[in-house]
């Protein structure tokens, strides 16, 4: 058991923190206090290995890929394709043909949604008039709006599986909304606003029983959990590099090759074609069919470095460490009178979302900021989730692999200061 072996080695958080230059930089807080970075669900800091990969590309290997015959071109192509192999292994995909580099999760969802609704050869797309798309009540706007656009284009309807008071998807409600008209389902692996870990494997099985393919939005899961798209049996899986210690502007769309073959191309341009005439263009094979234009080569190589970094530490160990931190933070916050956690699912990861009675989340955020504690205050791009709980906003502390108990102690002390000021 690989997981048992890696868990047996003690998790040395200080050694991990040493890998992240920003955590030790000066001038990162308003008040000059030491930084406690608890906004990891928004974006994560980057380890030196990722920074080195980015600067290494621009300093030593910079060239375009898939077209140049010179040494640099071959080297850039080799590094770019090595990142694809890394991503394949990271997700345990069957083939590199199933790994498409995109700008991030948002672009991945848009790619799938628009390819489903696109008319080709005068015929409706896979999503047509009267059809349905099923999502859940805890989705991020980026897993809602692309489907609304697709539904609007196709004349289809969006169905939403409700969530309960703990912030968990009601599986029966999800199953009930899967029907003969459902053409695709899209669900978050982990909710960014609540931290709920969805039982995606069960949801996928329910959908497949009705012949419905499933896209999993893995933006929040990729930094926290070991991933295996074949074990999940998902049809599409989307992730963002910057939320998993990699660069911004890069992400991965995994798709089963059978689906990627079936879908029409999304964007047209260079690299995605095999031959072009004014009369007829034939498309390149997978995965290049979906990678039009010169991609973000440096960030792709940086994402590969981030994935190798996570695998080097051990994703099972990271998950175990973070679960313990989350448990500790939950106990700390629950002990604060007048504080209510929003999102209390039985299975959670990474996120402590809360409201403090009588104090607006923006004021909480500003006071914590003055103490060097970086959190997010707002609706977290999940307004329907806020509506479900009858609130406009929450304060969200989200943890990463480099956070410590001491930082959560500082969070709790900062919240005591908040109550003192506004109580």
């Amino acid at each position: 058991m690989a997981v048992a072996t890696e868990n047996a080695v003690a998790y040395d958080v200080e050694r991990i923190r040493a890998d992240f230059p920003l955590l030790h930089a000066s001038g990162t807080t308003s008040g000059g206090a030491k930084l406690a970075y608890l906004d990891n669900a928004a974006t994560t800091q980057k380890p030196q290995a990722v920074l080195d990969a980015l600067s290494g590309f621009y300093n030593q290997d910079c060239a375009n890929i898939h077209r140049s015959v010179h040494l640099l071109g071959e080297r850039a192509t080799a590094h770019y394709e090595a990142a694809r192999e890394t991503a394949r292994g990271f997700l345990n995909a069957a083939s590199e043909r199933e790994i498409i580099f995109v700008r991030g999760t948002t672009e991945a969802v848009n790619l799938v949604a628009q390819s489903f609704s696109r008319r080709t050869g005068g015929r409706p797309g896979l999503l047509g008039e009267g059809d349905e798309v099923l999502i859940t009540g805890l989705e991020h706007h980026s897993n809602i709006v692309p489907w609304q656009l697709a539904c609007e284009a196709a004349g289809a309807r969006l169905q939403v599986a409700p969530i309960n008071d703990r912030g968990e998807v009601e599986l029966e409600g999800f199953a009930r909304r899967l029907g003969p008209r459902t053409k695709v389902a899209a669900v978050a692996h982990i909710s960014n606003a609540l931290g709920t870990v969805n039982p995606v494997k069960e949801m996928i099985a329910l959908a497949h029983a009705q012949g419905v393919p499933v896209l999993v939005d893995g933006a929040q899961a990729a930094p926290h959990l070991p991933l295996d798209v074949r074990a999940l049996d998902c049809d599409f899986y989307a992730l963002s590099g910057h939320k998993m210690y990699g660069p911004t502007g890069i992400g991965v769309l995994y798709g089963k090759s059978a689906w990627l073959e079936r879908l029409p191309p999304w964007q047209g341009g260079g690299d995605m074609i095999s031959s072009v005439t004014f009369e007829r263009t034939t498309y390149n094979e997978l995965p290049y069919k979906f990678e039009a234009g010169t991609p973000n080569i440096a960030a792709t190589i940086g994402l590969g470095a981030a994935m190798r970094y996570l695998e080097g530490v051990g994703r099972g160990r990271i998950a175990a460490y973070e679960a313990e931190l989350l448990e500790y933070g939950t106990r700390k916050l629950e002990a604060i009178p007048g504080l209510r956690l929003v999102g209390t699912a039985a299975h959670k990861a990474g996120v402590l979302s809360f409201v403090v009675e009588g104090v607006h989340p923006h004021d909480v955020g500003t006071v914590l900021d003055s103490l060097g504690i970086a959190v997010r205050a707002g609706h977290h791009c999940a307004q329907p989730v806020m509506d479900r709980f009858g609130i406009a906003a929450t304060t969200r502390a989200s943890i990463g692999m480099y956070n410590t108990r001491a930082e959560l102690d500082r969070l709790a002390a900062g919240l005591a200061r908040v109550k003192e000021m506004f109580g």
Binding site: S30, G31, V359, H360, P361, H362, D363, T366, V367, S370, A377, G378, H379, Q383, M386, A392, A393, M421, F422
Partner: protein, 152 residues
């Protein structure tokens, strides 16, 4: 911590905890709704105008300490002012919280509104402070209850 004290001055905390002129105004003849997209805060601002003069101002809604205190102090500040005076005060206030530009020599005095001077150090909070004033601007222009205005 000194910066934080500059932002949350005692007068601001006082008005946020006990907002003045808070509640509906059935006799209002101007009203507008303000909406901050960033945080989802909404407020309703009601005015009773007599000709060009603001006779009464009240507000409703929930928001952060900065936006609530700003709305509360606004309702006090604009009472008795003409439309033009109120708009000039908005311009002066906007300069204060954004920290941009010098006030002209003939600018209206800020009075109590000067407590918002600390906001300019917190760019993310400028919208909180100015929401009520954008809403005022909209209400002054409105014939009736207007569509929500945002701080964009």
């Amino acid at each position: 911590m000194s910066q934080l004290g500059d932002l949350y001055q005692e007068l601001i905390l006082d008005h946020s905890k006990r907002p003045r002129n808070f509640g509906p105004m059935p006799e209002a003849n101007r009203a507008a709704e303000g909406f901050n997209r960033l945080c989802g805060d909404r407020l309703m601002l009601y005015l009773k105008m007599e000709g060009e003069v603001v006779r009464e101002a009240r507000f409703q809604g929930s928001g952060c300490a900065i936006s609530t205190a700003s709305a509360s102090l606004l309702t006090e500040a604009v009472k008795g002012k003409t439309r033009a005076e109120a708009e000039a005060l908005f311009q002066r206030f906007h300069q204060l919280v954004t920290g941009k530009g010098e006030a002209p020599a003939d600018a209206p005095p800020l009075g109590k509104l000067a407590v918002f001077s600390g906001v300019s150090e917190y760019p993310a909070r400028v919208k909180c402070a100015s929401l009520a004033w954008h809403t005022l601007h909209s209400a002054l222009e409105a014939k009736t209850v207007a569509e929500p205005v945002s701080t964009e």
